[in-house]
């Protein structure tokens, strides 16, 4: 090894120590600088902690019924009071929150994935593929989602909630896929895609390796906002008895029960309704700050 080589190696090491401002780091930095994003993230983390660790603190499980206490206000025995059936509000609310969070997250991820794949295929291939996929997208927009989900609700009984998540996701992707399609059409003309094409990379590989990763910021924001949309839809369906089926509970079914007794037993309504609002608010705050963080043209405080 010559001296110049050694010098080069030293320089390399020096360069390596300086961390390049990767896109992820830039975005994460911007996100953590926004107050809105920090509040949203903290609230969301708190909600997750409450939903998944909280049940271990309570003395009751969500299936327990206390036959000594019907519709009792909050006390040392039952932290958030009891329902008309004697169920512990703390236990059932946290169980409902677990379900709502899982359903919301899964449905959002599936819905956004579907939007990315359908939109990218339609935009990349054009022609017949585009026309038929666009037509299906339009058809799904016209179909009344609430009605279809409600009709199919008997199928979701007996622990078939994953099916519910799938059908829910099926109604979340249309608008995003239209945006993805038009972005794909303009991306397709870029040099790196052209280069890959002339090197003989297969179209499917180009879509998954080059087109979709280039829209990751849009998709990340969309997935976040879809979480809140999915949670809201799930709540509304369960409110009317069309979503998560008993004996399982979700925030929607709890709110429906609580609303009947809310006037003289406020604890049956406000805990579940309040937690739902805080959760969705947190998700929206995170999504909004993410959008700003990804957007290079957004005006930021202190810049």
């Amino acid at each position: 090894m010559t001296i110049s080589d050694e010098e080069l190696a030293e320089q390399r090491a020096g360069i390596d120590r300086i961390k390049a401002p990767s896109r992820l780091r830039v975005v994460a930095g911007r996100f953590s600088r926004s107050v809105q994003g920090r509040i949203g993230f903290a609230l969301l983390a708190l909600m997750f902690l409450l939903a998944f660790a909280g049940p271990y603190l309570g003395r009751w499980t969500y299936t327990d019924k206390d036959f000594m206490a019907f519709l009792q206000p909050p006390s040392a025995e039952h932290w958030w009071g009891t329902l008309q059936t004697g169920a512990d509000v703390y236990a059932v609310t946290l169980r409902g929150m677990q379900k709502s969070l899982i359903v919301g997250l899964l449905a959002a991820v599936i819905g956004t994935t579907l939007a990315a794949v359908v939109g990218a295929f339609a935009g990349y291939f054009m022609g017949w593929a585009d026309r038929s996929l666009t037509w299906i997208t339009d058809l799904m927009l016209v179909l009344p989602a609430f009605l279809i989900l409600a009709i199919m609700s008997p199928l979701f009984a007996e622990g078939q909630w994953p099916l519910f998540v799938l059908v829910l996701a099926l109604f979340l992707w249309m608008v995003t896929s239209k945006i993805v399609r038009s972005m794909t059409i303009s991306l397709k003309e870029r040099e790196f895609i052209q280069a890959a094409r002339f090197m003989g990379v297969s179209p499917v590989r180009i879509i998954f390796r080059h087109v979709i990763p280039n829209m990751s910021s849009l998709l990340a924001v969309d997935a976040t906002l879809n979480v809140s949309a999915a949670i809201l839809t799930e709540t509304s369906l369960s409110y009317f008895g069309f979503g998560i089926q008993p004996p399982d509970v979700s925030l929607g079914s709890l709110i429906a029960d609580g609303a009947k007794t809310a006037v003289y037993a406020p604890w049956t309504f406000w805990f579940c309704a309040g937690l739902l609002i805080v959760t969705v608010l947190a998700v929206n705050l995170v999504g909004d700050s993410l959008r700003d963080a990804f957007d290079p043209t957004a005006k930021r405080a202190g810049q």
Binding site: P144, L147, S153, S236, N284
Partner: protein, 327 residues
């Protein structure tokens, strides 16, 4: 232009037909009208149930496709079949459509107009007290689903009534049945019934539109043509309303088509919770009573409404944006 419109209309028509047929197939396949008659005491003979179901075109022993053909044949002639109770679906829904349309129209106009003005004003006074307050409020409102919002409004209304000691807000139905009195009494009674449901529909819309309009308005406010308009000698107010607001309205109008579907769903919840006898309430009821024909008719109506909204937003777009008309 005419050819384009015609193709578009034809495409819409095909979409409505396919969507309604799909909804019918799904409803006929998943719902079970037979269960309405079984398990009664005294038990109804099997043959009677069969005859009754066949008469209503709801018999699950008939192949699904045959039932579909019978139903579709009726729909072509404007007959949407019979409800499970034996009445005509068309007449029943015709009566209810008026209730729903009244609620939707008032909620939509109040929601979008208020939302647009709140957003525009917030943008003009960016980072002012009003801007911060309206942004915070709309974030909170967007996190509250209609079902919860409606219930919170009812609780608040009942609480307020108790506080004042008078029935100010009425939370059930569209009007007090059998109310005696002149026009003024009737109108006041309707208004008392109307306030809370309208709020439950329009609060969400105000939140969405004000957020959207604020962003659009901010983009436009910095544009050259506004400065030019003011340099030309227009007053600030005129420049803002005539030039800025009009331009900033265009995307909001396009957005209108997207929100219309969710507005229909929101109306369903509002009607059901406030006990208005409209189509939305009937939708929830018809699924519980396995009323296949009503479900199909309502989904036809919904598809029609969504496409009409998107057509209306195209037309409004053309009115506001001269480039669309010329191009």
């Amino acid at each position: 232009m005419a050819g384009f419109l015609l193709r578009r209309l034809l495409n819409y028509l095909v979409l409505i037909v396919v969507a309604t047929s799909l909804a019918y197939m799904l409803a006929a396949g998943a719902l079970d009208p037979r269960s309405n008659y079984e398990g009664r005491n005294p038990p109804i003979p099997q043959a009677v149930i069969d005859a009754r179901l066949t008469e209503l075109n709801l018999n699950d022993r008939t192949p699904l496709f045959d039932r579909y053909l019978t139903w579709a044949g009726g729909v072509v002639h404007g007959d949407f079949g019979k409800t499970v109770a034996g009445g005509s679906v068309g007449e029943d829904l015709g009566r209810r459509a008026g209730v729903t349309l009244r609620l939707i129209t008032i909620g939509l106009i109040l929601g979008s107009v208020t939302g647009v003005f709140v957003g525009a004003y917030a943008a003009v006074k960016q980072y002012g007290v009003f801007d911060r307050l309206s942004t915070g409020a709309s974030f909170v409102v967007l996190a509250v689903p209609t079902v919860v919002l409606a219930n919170i409004l009812i609780i608040a209304g009942v609480w307020f009534n108790g506080l004042v000691g008078a029935q100010v807000f009425l939370v059930s139905g569209e009007a007090t049945p059998g109310l005696q009195g002149g026009f003024a009494t009737q109108a006041a009674d309707r208004l008392q019934h109307l306030i809370l449901p309208t709020l439950s529909l329009s609060l969400g819309l105000i939140a969405v539109y004000s957020r959207y309009q604020r962003n659009m308005m901010l983009d436009v406010l910095g544009a050259d043509f506004i400065r030019t308009a003011m340099a030309k000698g227009l007053r600030r107010r005129t420049a803002l309303t005539r030039h800025a607001l009009r331009t900033a309205l265009i995307p909001a109008v396009t957005y209108f088509a997207f929100t219309f579907g969710s507005l229909l769903v929101g109306t369903t919840f509002t009607e059901k919770i406030f006990g208005w006898h409209g189509m939305g309430e009937q939708l929830v009821n018809s699924i519980s009573t396995n009323d296949v024909n009503t479900v199909a008719a309502i989904s036809c109506f919904a598809a029609f409404a969504v496409l009409a909204a998107s057509l209306a937003s195209d037309v409004l777009h053309a009115v506001l944006d001269p480039r669309v008309r010329v191009g």
